[in-house]
Amino acid sequence: MNPFGILIGIVTLLIIGLGFPLVIRGERYFGYWSWPYMMGIGFLVIVVSLFIQNDWGSVVVGVLGATFVWGSTELKEQAVRAELGWFPFNPNKIKLPFAGVIKKWRAPHL
């Protein structure tokens, strides 16, 4: 009996927990239209995990990437939460490149 899977599960839970502040702060400072950036970072991190030979390292980096991809799908709803006053609303968000174009795209939500 090897507890690798259980330990990975616990570590995954902790990494997913990082996703909550990631979404909250990401939306607050960069707006929900930062979603392609967050998604892109997530996919890139998952690709990096493929080249890590250490199993623990590969899994931790892979789950970190998945957290970023999932977080990108939560940004739109988080923006609505902030508008409703459930979270602090920041009117002076940092505009990332192509923000105007991205705003016209339909933001993903699962």
């Binding site: 899977g5 995954t12 493929l50 590969s58 899994v59 892979g62 789950v63 609505v80 508008e83 009117p91």
Partner: protein, 136 residues
């Protein structure tokens, strides 16, 4: 350089398990008359999945089951948290569910409206305007 697919396996499992849990928690919480039953089922499935992860020798399967089991256990906790969201009006109450009907009667903040079902407008939205913006 050799490719290690374990991280990708973990990433896919984590993403799909979060997605599945996210959808299932909302649906089950809205429909369940007694929340203790789905909470117990989620805990039992989570523990069973973790046991399967413990006894299998296949590393990818062990990883996937370990992640799936923990997310199931977390979903049990999320069912409870979802009920609190309904009480605060942060998730819609189902008036056809007697448990939710009771929440609607006892909590003035509870609502049948899904206030998140809309696109952001880029400014703070006062409570009286929020229902008008919902996509029907």
């Amino acid at each position: 350089m050799e490719i290690n697919p374990l991280g990708l396996t973990a990433a896919l499992t984590a993403f799909l398990a979060i997605w599945l849990g996210h959808v299932a928690v909302r649906k089950v919480e809205a429909e369940a008359r007694d929340l203790r039953i789905p909470i117990l089922i989620a805990i039992a499935l989570g523990l069973l999945t973790e046991y399967c992860s413990l006894i299998t020798d296949h590393l990818s399967l062990k990883t996937a089951l370990g992640i799936l089991g923990v997310t199931l256990l977390w979903d049990a906790f999320e069912l409870h948290r979802q009920e609190n969201r309904v009480k605060h009006g942060h998730a819609p109450a189902n008036p056809n569910n007697p448990r939710h009907a009771k929440i609607l009667a006892e909590h003035s903040t509870a609502t049948t409206l899904d206030l998140l079902k809309r696109n952001p407008v880029g400014r703070p939205v006062p409570p009286d305007e929020a229902p008008k913006l919902i996509h029907h």
